[in-house]
Symmetry: C2
Subunit: 338 residues, 2 copies
DNA sequence: CTGAAAGCGCTTACAG
DNA sequence: CTGAAAGCGCTTACAG
């Protein structure tokens, strides 16, 4: 019953070389598809490799060559579909380019982030895609640069400009959302969700800017801090309904906050689109089929991920090139919620 | 401006050894925390390592030791929060155990799956956690076993029993959901979503079983095949409303199918819970705050991921142990949709 | 407790 | 076009 563990691939290029009656350098060359080897010889080598069940030991090769085809990506909130979509975009781009991803999830835990980054370093990652946990030191990109590992920061900026960045023009996004609500004649508009961080600052800034432009003064009692998840959106909407029952419009920090808000609205017998105008932010896939379909600010999450990956690839190819910043241009997407 | 790329960590244990005036074996031993080394010496070595900015080259170590602390996990649909939650559970468990995850996303593409598995093999993964793409050959687990790589299959069984598996008792789950609807006196109950695969078979089987038990004959016109995503659920519900307007209850293949159905219901001015009884399956986080909150079958997705990881760890620790099967016991969770 | 030596599986000049 | 040799950064018996 208990079969002993089968030994892991112990056959090496040396075995292949012997079987194909060439030197191991020759085998190495054909494995790399070098044109230096006569096709006839190459075919013989490949046949021998196949017959022996040879499997390339990529890590040995990378050790010798001092290269790596793995890329570290650190995400902090996969439970949020926005990040899941970003990750999918990243992975797609990266595998197409011949890389494989070393993935880590921090749950906003700085200690975890530290550990995981260190681990990626020990694994000699060819590059790192980082969505920094809340509270990450501004100096982190500098440290990683000092390690000699190409880095691109995603989604959340850390301030300064000493690193490549892929995100979106959040301020303009909420500006668009707020202006949309304003142009429908509404003047009392709440802001729901978010608790801290630059991203929140920027989103609030856009909200403020639109209000100011329209000549309406911001009522601080209308911005409801809340966790950036459904639960947070749910609670924020309930609070809003309670404290300011006359307000019938809100822009949310993100789509998932809006989903929670939609749930609260439904619970109170209100329907977004008819009784209340609600705007989301991100345009995650879910937004197209929420109840009701969510009007939102589209920043194309998976595309954002692909751009981040592209920037990293460019940085790896040319470490000396100038700073790159990709900022998705937000687009207002009016569906039915507002 | 264009700073030359900084050379990657070229300082090695040899440099540390020189600085600390010991041999490199000694350095290696202290790095491994060996008790063979006098504390005084160890401290001196650590100090030297710190001063020089030494970073452990884990891959070199693994090559020599023929070990690996990376685990491959292949997921096919991260856009579905169910899988995102499973992944989070896996990652959490794995990093705690000192592993790091090599993550790949197949989007149900068999060719991608093949490539990615091969890549993990070349990277000498210590184990693989696989949620097989639709259409995966039953023989795949056998192949991977032949590679000598511990494997656990997740979520979707491939038939047979020649491998470790972590999933849930899907049949019992839909049985519970259907029975719940039945016990409320409903007798015309639709099934929405899913297009093929064992998981669908099992879920349909539970639906059938509950119907049979209650003495109601299954109306094939009431099972609506549809993609297992929101769009699919949306379309299926619209079709149902059109073709069988008197039916006011349905169990869905999964929560996200149910979300789409909720959207369709809302569009028609219907409210789940009041006008229609709708049950989901999985209990993803979103289900608690959908509009309305979704009644569903809880299989604790992230816990499922943790169990899968635990099983893999056990298999790695003891390759000869007997087959493991973790099947989450589904629990009916009645919220407001039905 | 510590050092010298061999070797993990590959690649890469360097000769021929 | 192909082979012999050195070396990537580590670990692990083996002596002492």
């Amino acid at each position: 019953m208990a079969r002993p563990p089968r030994p892991r691939s112990q056959i090496t290029i040396l075995d292949v070389a012997t079987a194909a009656k060439v030197s191991k350098s020759t085998v190495s060359l054909v494995l790399q598809g070098s044109p230096l080897i006569r096709e006839q010889t190459a075919a013989r080598v490949r046949r021998a490799a196949g017959k022996l069940g040879y499997v390339y030991n990529r890590r040995a090769a990378e050790l010798r060559r001092k290269s790596s085809n793995t890329i570290g990506v650190v995400i902090n909130d996969l439970m949020n579909p926005f990040f899941a979509e970003v990750l999918v975009g990243i992975e797609r781009k990266l595998v197409r380019a011949g890389y494989i991803v070393l993935m880590a999830h921090t749950s906003e835990d700085l200690e975890r982030q530290r550990t995981v980054l260190q681990s990626m370093r020990e694994h000699n990652a060819a590059g790192i895609l980082l969505c920094p946990a809340l509270g990450t030191a501004k100096s982190l990109p500098r440290h990683i640069a000092a390690w000699g590992i190409p880095l691109v920061v995603m989604v959340r900026s850390l301030g300064g400009t000493g690193y490549d960045f892929a995100g979106a023009d959040y301020e303009h996004g909420t500006y668009l959302a707020t202006r949309h609500l304003l142009s429908a004649g509404r003047t009392r508009i709440a802001f729901l969700g978010g608790v801290s961080g630059v991203v929140l600052e920027q989103r609030l800034q856009g909200y403020r800017a639109a209000l100011t432009e329209a000549g309406v003064v911001l009522d601080p009692g209308l911005v409801f801090a809340a966790a950036t998840n459904r639960q947070g959106g749910y609670g924020a909407m309930l609070a809003l309904l309670e404290r300011a029952p006359r307000v019938t419009a809100a822009v949310c920090y993100s789509d998932i906050v809006a989903f929670g808000a939609l749930s609260a609205l439904g619970e109170r017998g209100l329907r977004a689109g008819a009784d209340f105008a609600l705007l989301g932010f991100d345009n995650v896939l879910d937004a197209a089929h929420s109840n009701p379909p969510l009007s939102t600010v589209d920043i194309r999450p998976s595309e954002l991920g692909e751009h981040a990956a592209t920037a990293l690839l460019a940085r790896i190819a040319n470490p000396a090139q100038s700073r790159q910043t990709y900022l998705a241009e937000p687009q207002l997407l009016v569906r039915q919620s507002g």
